[in-house]
Structure formats: structure tokens, C-alpha cells
Amino acid sequence: MKKLLVVIFSLMLLSFFACGKPSDTLKPGFKIGFMGPLTGDDANYGKLMSQASKIAIEEFNEKGGFRGFGAELIVEDTQGRVEKGNPAIEKLAGVDKVIGIIGDVFSTVSLAVAPKAEAAKIVMISPSSTHKDLPDKGKFIFRDVINDDLQAVVFAKYLANVEKVKTLAILYIKNDYSQALAKAVQDQYEKEGGKVVASETGLQGDKDFKTQLTKIKSKNPEALYIPNYVAEIAQILEQAKQLGINAKIYSADGFSQPQILELAGSLANGVIYTQIAEQPASNARKTFEAKYEKKWGEKPDAFSLNAYDGTNIILNSVVATAEVIDGNLKIDRDKLRDEVAKTKNYDGASGKITFTENGDLVANIGIYTVENQKFKQIRMFKLEGQKLVELK
């Protein structure tokens, strides 16, 4: 037992020195926080996104920072829980005095910490909180992920009017992401004249969906919509096949985590899902993806692209608004916020980013599929009023 303790402590010390240095040549300038689950069931999402933010910060420092001042990323684990998120943001705001936060990963936590970020004048850009109310929490609160309503409306219209699917079954998990998308799609799809024949639920952490799928099978739907995270999607794909369900399968941006290709294998082929549209003319996504894979040995998901873009938007806004007075870096938080809010057609890795007046994301939605174990964008849409417009 004593030996174990020695091992643990030496590990701690090791990592302390390993990742503690911001940069050798730069003066410590400002800090940006990252909040997300790094332990627990959904740790992988937090891990992938924080790695993306790290790349953005490193790139910034490698380019010399801002007039010799470097940036530092402070990653805090929230375990996806409100009661861990509150101390985390107090620490980021009070101890680290961060100027911006990328996070939180989950809507429930983001909604809880947003008022604090607003009060402390910290620009908060969530890469993955899709709940519709989030941007209304304050002027410092932004997100660069498509909200549930936009994604669901585009998808439901696409399903009913473009693919002309008549009957749909939905299988969602009782978490904030999955349920919000499922409900919004159900509403819109029924408005478009489609019929939802089954709407089944599962619990967070469930891996066995055979009961739900057996029920769905008996309703014989044309299509099955599974807006979940990949660990669950992989299970559903496999079990649906085992039970002999032939419905065409659709999903949402949670599907974009490349791990699905490993977990579901060939079953992932042909699944159609939605995500922010990639700009055909831009190389930003490919460059970032290559860099990410080289550095971390794994591929980023859609939310990591958002985290990378969010971090860069903050960094760019710092460059645009910061001043150096008597050798000290001065960042005016209000000016920084206004600069972030002005973001328009930013050419990011995730796509073209524009913030609405209240800090939500306007984006084009891509329809993606998997072909031969590779993600591929097949069509691109945007919403004009209530009309679905295809972009070429």
C-alpha cells in the first residue's frame, strides 16, 4: 500500500512538471479556462474537446503570443455535474482570473454557471451545450454549436420533405442533449406531416436497448432516429441489427465522434446524420484534423472542432482588443466581449461561424453519411425563415 502511494505521488509530481510550463520564451499573459467532464461516464467528450483547445493555445503561443505575452489554458473537471461546476467556475474566476471560458460541455452545467460568468465578465463559449435557453443567460454567453431547435428543424424538414420518410421511430437517452433533440425533431416532423410511430427512452449509462428495439420493431417504422452519444449509438446499431430491424438509421452531431467507426464497424456505413456544414472551399477543417490526430493519436469529433474555433475566437479577440501599457498586458473585458460578439463569417474548422445578437450560432447544416468507414458531407442546407434552402 505504501508503495502504491509512492507510485501515485511520483506520478503526480511527474505530470506536474510535464505539463506545467506555459512557455519558455513568453511572458505569462492571460488565462483561458476549459470546463467539462474529464472523469466519469462522459469523460471522453471532455477529453477530446479540451485537447482541441490545447492545440489552439499552443498555436497561439508558437506564433509568439500577443506581443510577447503567452496564453495559458486552465482545464477544470466538472464531471458533468452542477455541484462540481460551481466551484470550478469560482476557481477559474477568482483564482485564475480567466478572461474566457470554453465550456461547459453539458447544457445543465452551462446553464448553472452562465450567470456567474456573466457577473464576472468572462466570455463563455460553449462548444457543445445545445439547450435553447443558454445564450439568453447573458451578453457574455455564446456558443458555437448548433442549437437543438435549428438542428432538429432542419433535420425534420429534410427527413419529411427531401427524403420523404413517412414513419419514424425515435430512441433517445434521458440526458439533456439526446432528449432535447428527440423532442424537437418529433414536434417538427409531425408538423411536416410525418408520423412518429414510437418514441422510446433509455437511461444514461444504459447499454442494453433490446427491449426498446423489440418494441420499435413491432411498429415497423421506415426510419429510426437516434440522437445520442456514440457509446450508445454503437450499441443501438448492433442490437437493431441483431433484432432484424431494417429501418434506415438517422442521427445527429453526437454521431460525429470517429470512435463510432471503431465501435460499430461496418454498421456505421449508411447512417445519415447532421452537423455544422463544412465549407467546401476551406481547408481549415482538414488542417486541424490532421494536426489533432498527429498530436493526440486520435481523431477529433464535431464538438472538438467547435472547441478549437471557440478558443481561437477568444484569442483573436484578445489580439484585436488588448493593449500593452507600461509593459503590462491590459485586457478590457467589455471590449473583448464586443469583439467576440462581432464575429461574422469566421472561417473556422467547424464551418462558417457567425453569432446572432444574443450569442447563438448561425450556421449552415450539413447532411453527412458514412461511406466505407469515412465521414462524408453529402448535402448542405440553411434555414431561411421556415424554408429549407439547399446550398451548393
Binding site: 482545464v75 466551484p87 469560482e90 457577473a119 440526458n175 437511461l203
Partner: protein, 309 residues
């Protein structure tokens, strides 16, 4: 920095109140209950729902939450009359899971997995106690710890009365106690009600402070953490329970407190926490302070000596 410490003090206080309630059940009466998180959830959601729906003030809502939790304490307390030991533990564990599961699925009332995130800010003497404002934090710390102190005092009064002696008798030997004419059923259910209402009040304070709640918070792990506070301090000792609450909360926030949380892998925080639990138990299995036993023989002796003189 001080704001961060205030937040930790606030959570410690909330947990301490819940743990004091659990200690009544587990420590003083010897009934293993694994559903304190369920009562906290009931308290938190009652407060959130009635404050939003009926525009009631926070403090009235808090008392009502305590009552609602007490009602559920009564419901889950009834089976305790039949179940013993670990079977009771499982029944309570099941109850805790049911509470979380119902909250998760009862979307129209509890807003399901989204949680409730628009709880109005509590007001104290006309001053708004908003979660995000820095001025309100010391006031929150004060309020919560005053409530904790009040609970502590009430429990102390209770334990030093006839009731306390009856509970101790039940814990040591239930059959002997009942043959001494103690109505064990009444006391056992009563203690469950008291423990639950403290859990409900803690939950209400949690909702009032955070102004945002989500169902995943109130899971089995939370019950376990509160049980750890009770056991770690020393069973059947309210003061030790408060110490336990302080140690567990600080231990789980330790890396953040000493400023290394972003320098070490986050899992190590948790590993460190686990190590603290194991080592504390190995070296102080009776808890850090342990149970304070009234030494009746000594008291009696002193009495006699006193009268002789």
C-alpha cells in the same frame, strides 16, 4: 480566491446538514440508510417547483420542502419496521434510485434531464441572495452555517433527552429495548422522518444557492458521499459528522484548493480521494473522532463521591 473558498464552505454546510440528518438514522439508531440523496433531491425539486409555480418566497419553500421530505421519510420509514440490516439498506437504496428515476422521467413537472435552471433568487431581509453575486456569498455561508448550527443544537437536545436514550437502546439491542417497553416502531419511523426533513432542507438550500438543479446530481454516489461523512467523522456523534463533512468536501476539492487541479490528470484527483478514504479507514476505523460514549459508571461514581462529601 475567497469566493472559491466561500463556495466550498457553502457546499460543506449543505452537506453537513444532510449528514447530520443521516447520522440520526445511521449513527444514533443504527439503521443503514442509503437514500439521503433522494431526500435532498425531493427538497431541492420541491423548492424549485413551488418557487416557480406559486411564487412563494424561498424561506417558506424551504420549510415546506422539509415537510415534503419528512412525508417521504415517513413512507420509506414504514418498511424499516419489517426489514433488518442490509435488507433495509437495499430498500432505501431502491427508494433513492426511484426518486432519481421518477424525476428524470416526469418531464412535465421536473423538466426531466434538463433540470430546472430558473429558480428565483432567495431574498434575505430584502437583499437578493443571487448565486452569481460576490457580495451574497459571505451571507450565504453565514445563513447555511446558522441553519447547520441550529440543526446541530436541536439534535443535541433530542439525543440528550429520553428519546436519545431510547434510540441508543434500539441501536444496541432492539429486542431488549422493546422488552423494556420502548415503542421501537415509533422511534424508528420518527428518526427516519427527522433525518429526511434535514435532507430536504439541505436540498432546498442547494436549490436556493445554485438556482439551477439537474437530476444527475442526486445519484447514489451522493448518498454514499454523505454516508462517508457520517462514518469518517465517527458514527453517532454530531460534531464528528460535521468534521466528516468538512474533510470529505475539502478532500474532494483538494487539488483545486492547492492549485494543482489543472496540472495533474483529473483522474488523479479522484484516486487521491479514494486513497484518503481507504487510509482513514485503515488507521481510524471508528472514525476520526469516534463515538462519544457517556460513561455512566464514571458519572455515577462522581455523583456518589459528590454526595458523600
Amino acid at each position: 480566491m475567497e469566493n472559491f473558498i466561500f463556495v466550498i464552505l457553502i457546499y460543506t454546510g449543505i452537506y453537513a446538514i444532510a449528514a447530520l440528518g443521516l447520522n440520526l438514522v445511521v449513527g444514533y439508531t443504527g439503521l443503514l440508510s442509503l437514500c439521503q440523496a433522494g431526500f435532498i433531491a425531493i427538497g431541492a425539486y420541491t423548492t424549485a417547483i413551488i418557487m416557480n409555480a406559486f411564487n412563494t418566497g424561498f424561506w417558506e419553500s424551504m420549510l415546506l420542502s422539509g415537510l415534503v421530505a419528512a412525508l417521504f421519510g415517513f413512507i420509506i420509514g414504514m418498511p424499516t419496521l419489517r426489514l433488518r440490516g442490509d435488507y433495509l439498506a437495499i430498500a432505501t437504496l431502491g427508494f433513492g434510485e426511484i426518486v432519481q428515476n421518477v424525476i428524470m422521467n416526469w418531464d412535465s413537472v421536473t423538466n426531466g434531464p434538463m433540470g430546472i435552471h430558473s429558480i428565483p433568487e432567495p431574498k434575505l431581509f430584502g437583499m437578493a441572495l443571487s448565486a452569481s453575486s460576490d457580495q451574497a456569498k459571505p451571507l450565504w455561508v453565514l445563513t447555511i452555517w446558522i441553519i447547520a448550527a441550529l440543526s446541530y443544537y436541536l439534535i443535541r437536545r433530542l439525543i440528550r433527552s429520553r428519546v436519545g436514550r431510547a434510540l441508543e437502546a434500539i441501536r444496541e439491542d432492539e429486542i431488549a429495548a422493546s422488552s423494556m417497553g420502548i415503542n421501537t416502531a415509533k422511534y424508528k419511523v420518527g428518526v427516519f422522518i427527522a433525518g429526511a426533513s434535514l435532507g430536504g432542507i439541505a436540498g432546498s438550500l442547494y436549490a436556493g444557492y445554485s438556482q439551477a438543479i439537474a437530476p444527475l446530481t442526486f445519484n447514489f454516489m451522493m448518498s454514499i458521499m454523505i454516508l462517508c461523512m457520517v462514518v469518517l467523522g465517527g458514527l453517532g456523534n454530531s460534531f464528528a459528522t460535521v468534521i466528516g463533512a468538512i474533510i470529505i468536501t475539502i478532500a474532494s476539492e483538494l487539488p483545486r484548493l492547492i492549485g494543482i487541479s489543472h496540472r495533474i490528470p483529473p483522474q488523479l484527483n479522484q484516486v487521491l480521494f479514494g486513497c484518503i478514504l481507504v487510509f482513514m479507514m485503515i488507521y481510524r476505523p471508528q472514525g476520526i473522532i469516534g463515538r462519544i460514549k457517556l460513561n455512566y459508571a464514571k458519572i455515577l461514581k462522581e455523583e456518589i463521591l459528590h454526595t458523600e462529601k
